[in-house]
């Protein structure tokens, strides 16, 4: 066993890359849950984003168009969920689970003809002199544009929820849809918009996997990333900054276990690969035992159906 092969700078850099898909999906789901909707279909929306982004960019030769396709694909699948739960008032948990199963199946069907194809390459963003800072440059400033976009999105969502009028309305709808309705706000429209945003973010996260991180299409390639994103939203107690911490923590464990495998740590590989998931479960257990804080922060109307009185 030789731990010296693990280079902290490389580790940090690959941590950011590993965490980005989860971060994107989680920040989208945070907005959805803040509006009072529990969408368990994150996994399905991610994989649809992965396959539609992949298909579009292979066919057009443009990675940018691929990401646009992923955003549209994720949002469209999310709107299926939105119409089911908000307009037709079907059960949110069941619809979300169905969305995941449906997304996994549909993506496998679409992805059939793209199995052995390579996508167009993505260059890293050149940040000029910043990238040349020893150590730090390699860690922070030699990434692709999506990594920075995901960070900007976290900041944007934080500012939107905290400072903007629409953010206030979104939080109000999630706190008490009856009160928001009594004040004349369109609960269903606000929620549909939030659901579409969540789907778009999940789709983007999925495409990041298939176009940059892997980059290749394989069936079921999200491998539970959507479920981890859901867990991170709870872990963060619905705070954008903590979503960032949670996603990077998970990304860190995921990357570290790969490095430990490479360094030849004498633990069966299976234990190492299950470690990120085990840690997610542990974190969730710890969060839910300290009932006070996370219970206090959950949107009060999360998961409750809203039926507008005529």
């Amino acid at each position: 066993m030789d731990l010296s092969v693990i280079n902290p700078a490389v580790l940090a850099a690959s941590l950011m890359v590993a965490a980005t898909p989860i971060l994107l999906a989680a920040i989208g789901e945070l907005v959805v849950e803040k509006s009072g909707v529990l969408n368990l279909g994150v996994e399905g929306m991610m994989i649809i984003g992965a396959v539609s982004g992949y298909a579009v960019s292979v066919n057009t030769g443009s990675v940018f168009l691929g990401f646009v396709g992923a955003v549209v694909g994720g949002a469209m699948l999310a709107l299926v969920f939105g119409v089911l739960t908000q307009v037709l008032l079907s059960n949110q948990v069941a619809s979300g689970l169905a969305l995941t199963l449906f997304g996994l199946g549909l993506s496998a069907l679409i992805g059939e003809s793209y199995l052995m194809v390579r996508p167009p390459p993505v260059g890293d963003l050149s940040l000029g002199p910043l990238a040349d800072i020893p150590g730090l440059g390699k860690m922070l400033f030699r990434h692709d544009v999506i990594v920075y976009l995901s960070l900007a999105l976290v900041g944007g969502v934080w500012a939107f929820l905290r400072y903007s009028r629409w953010g206030l309305i979104l939080r109000a709808v999630g706190e008490s849809h009856d009160a928001a309705h009594a004040l004349g706000y369109k609960v269903i429209r606000v929620r549909l918009a939030a659901i579409a945003f969540g789907g778009a973010c999940a789709g983007l996260g999925g495409a990041y996997l298939s176009l940059i991180r892997v980059p290749q299409w394989t069936e079921g390639m999200t491998a539970g990333a959507g479920w981890i994103a859901l867990a991170i939203v709870v872990f963060s107690s619905w705070k954008p900054v903590w979503v960032l911490v949670g996603a990077y923590l998970f990304g860190g464990v995921a990357v570290l276990q790969l490095n430990l495998q490479a360094a030849g740590v004498e633990v069966p590989v299976e234990y190492l690969s299950m470690s990120p998931y085990l840690i997610t479960i542990l974190v969730l257990i710890i969060m839910s035992t300290g009932r006070g804080r996370s219970a206090l922060n959950a949107p009060a109307d999360l998961g409750r159906p809203f039926h507008a009185p005529a």
């Binding site: 206030l168 939080r171 109000a172 008490s176 009594a182 004040l183 004349g184």
Partner: protein, 507 residues
């Protein structure tokens, strides 16, 4: 006819199976306090929702300040100068005061300016409020202040108040009336909905009475008696519950040093509560909602286990007994929330009767349900308590509030409790059903049971209880004999009087 601010002409609104409003007309003058009177289900709420743009009328016209008025949404109502304080507050507990106020305004100023205006208006009207506090931490009176200030910031011409005093202490009601009188003096018209007739007599210039969706009379409250207005509302003469005098017997339930954690993040835990109730006696427990009522009921019914020694039933420690064991001993309870707590909404009345009556009525044998006995028990409840329903197979959800409440209370009373605990037995129940429930509780006590009535309706508590105690912030005051207790003293017992005085009361 002098000038008219709002004229409502022939409004009709039909829901499937019910005519909520049938050709309703009335008018309000500027600076008038106009009452809408009627029982639950008379159509008051639907009517004001149409005025506020939440519900669209099927037919009829409205005129506001001399021009036709057809609000498409609350936004357009607010733009015209009509604001509303809701019965169940339209507030968001996890947001702060300023955010809550901003949500109810059309063009809110930036938060910092808004916070300053909240302080200014609060000071001008004697309603001090800190803009940064979370609404979930505020008392009911303070929450209502948030709603009122939200309305005042928009300089309304007409203020609608839907049962504003149902959650306030008597002192808080006085402060509210003071504010409303000042608004009236400044020319603001107020549409005031309530079924508390004494308040309407004190405050309102005119009253429109609704019954079953129709206007049945217009009166001048100060010239009427409470009884005559009540009879206009109900459409028949009213019976007042009669009390059979008796002397209380031995102590049945004895509670000492009872502390319970809050049931929800914004709930109130119980702190060192002590009480005792004797057979043949009704102990009334008053207090504003959210001061530990739910927690007290849960601790007494057995939903929450408590430490050994805190609860003694006929002298035996029952603190760690669950609800079923307590029921077996004869300690029964009926919680406040009818649908979802006291009764399962989608189950039939037979099934609901079975759920609490299984032990004492022998409705279960060798692990199997005895359907015939359960059905017979449900039928007995229905006939003894005049529950209006097609039969015991109807779902609990299909009953009106008053009928379901009669069923829920009747179900416990027919199990011959040694001690019955009820929370809000007549909340949202029409006057006739409320009178029947109170009479049943009085009869139960007269037959030798100990009864604890937790309620926010002070008139009810004064009417039926022998002793009165008040919950405030999770603490229970000492119980006092009701005979000779004045409303002022009750208000002081309910506490909070110290932080309720208007900011400029000294001036």
């Amino acid at each position: 006819m002098t000038d008219t601010l709002l004229a409502v002409d022939g409004l009709t609104k039909t829901y499937p199976g019910v005519v909520a409003n049938d050709n309703v007309s009335f008018s309000i003058a500027p600076g008038e306090v106009h009452a809408l009177l009627g029982e639950n289900g008379a159509g008051k709420s639907t009517l004001v929702k149409m005025v506020y743009g939440l519900v669209r009328p099927d037919s009829g016209r409205m005129e506001f300040a001399g021009s036709p008025y057809e609000p498409a949404s609350p936004h357009s109502a607010r733009a015209s100068g009509i604001t509303m304080v809701f019965q169940h507050f339209s507030l968001f507990e996890a947001l702060n005061v300023a955010e809550n106020i901003a949500l109810g305004m059309e063009n809110p100023p930036p938060q910092r300016k808004l916070a300053k205006r909240i302080r200014e208006v609060g000071k001008a009207f004697g309603l001090p409020l800190s803009p940064d506090r979370l609404v979930g931490e505020l008392s009911a009176g303070e929450r209502q202040r948030v709603e009122i200030i939200r309305c005042l910031l928009q300089d309304p011409k007409l203020l609608i108040m839907d049962e504003p005093t149902s959650v306030l202490t008597p002192q808080e009601v006085e402060i509210l009336f003071e504010t409303l009188r000042r608004l009236r003096a400044e020319g603001t018209a107020i549409l005031y909905i309530s079924h508390k007739l004494e308040e309407i007599r004190k405050l309102c210039d005119r009253a429109t009475v609704l019954r079953e969706g129709r206007v049945t009379g217009i009166c001048q409250p100060s010239a009427e008696s409470v009884r005559s207005m009540a009879e206009m509302m109900v459409g028949s003469t009213l019976k007042t519950p009669s009390r059979r005098p008796g002397t209380p017997g031995a102590t049945v339930l004895d509670v000492a040093a009872l502390s319970v954690a809050p049931a929800s993040p914004f709930g109130t835990g119980l702190k060192d509560v002590g009480l005792d109730v004797r057979s043949g006696e009704i102990l009334g427990i008053g207090g504003v909602a959210g001061n530990g009522q739910d927690e007290l009921l849960a601790a007494l019914s057995g939903e929450v286990r408590v430490v050994r020694g805190a609860l003694r039933f006929h002298g035996n420690d029952i603190g760690n007994f669950g609800p079923v064991a307590r029921r077996r001993l004869g300690l029964l309870a009926a919680p406040e929330e009818r649908l979802g707590h006291a009764a399962v909404p989608d189950m039939s009345l037979t099934e609901n009767a079975l759920l609490t009556g299984a032990v004492r009525e022998g409705l279960v044998g060798r692990g199997f349900l005895r359907w015939n006995r359960a059905r017979a028990f449900a039928k007995r409840i229905i006939s003894a308590f005049d529950v209006r329903t097609p039969g015991p197979a109807s779902a609990a959800r299909s009953l009106s509030g008053g009928n379901l409440q009669k069923f829920v209370i009747g179900r416990e009373i027919l199990q011959r409790p040694a001690c019955l605990v009820v929370n809000q037995p007549t909340w949202g129940v029409d006057a006739a059903a409320a009178a029947a429930i109170r009479q049943a509780l009085l009869d139960l006590a007269a037959e030798g049971a100990a009864v604890i009535v937790i309620s926010q309706d002070l008139d009810e508590l004064v009417e039926i209880s022998d002793r009165f105690a008040a919950l405030n912030g999770g603490r229970l005051s000492d119980a006092r004999q009701v005979a000779g207790l004045t409303m002022d003293e009750i208000g002081l017992m309910m506490g909070g009087a110290h932080d309720l005085a208007p900011g400029n009361a000294a001036a």
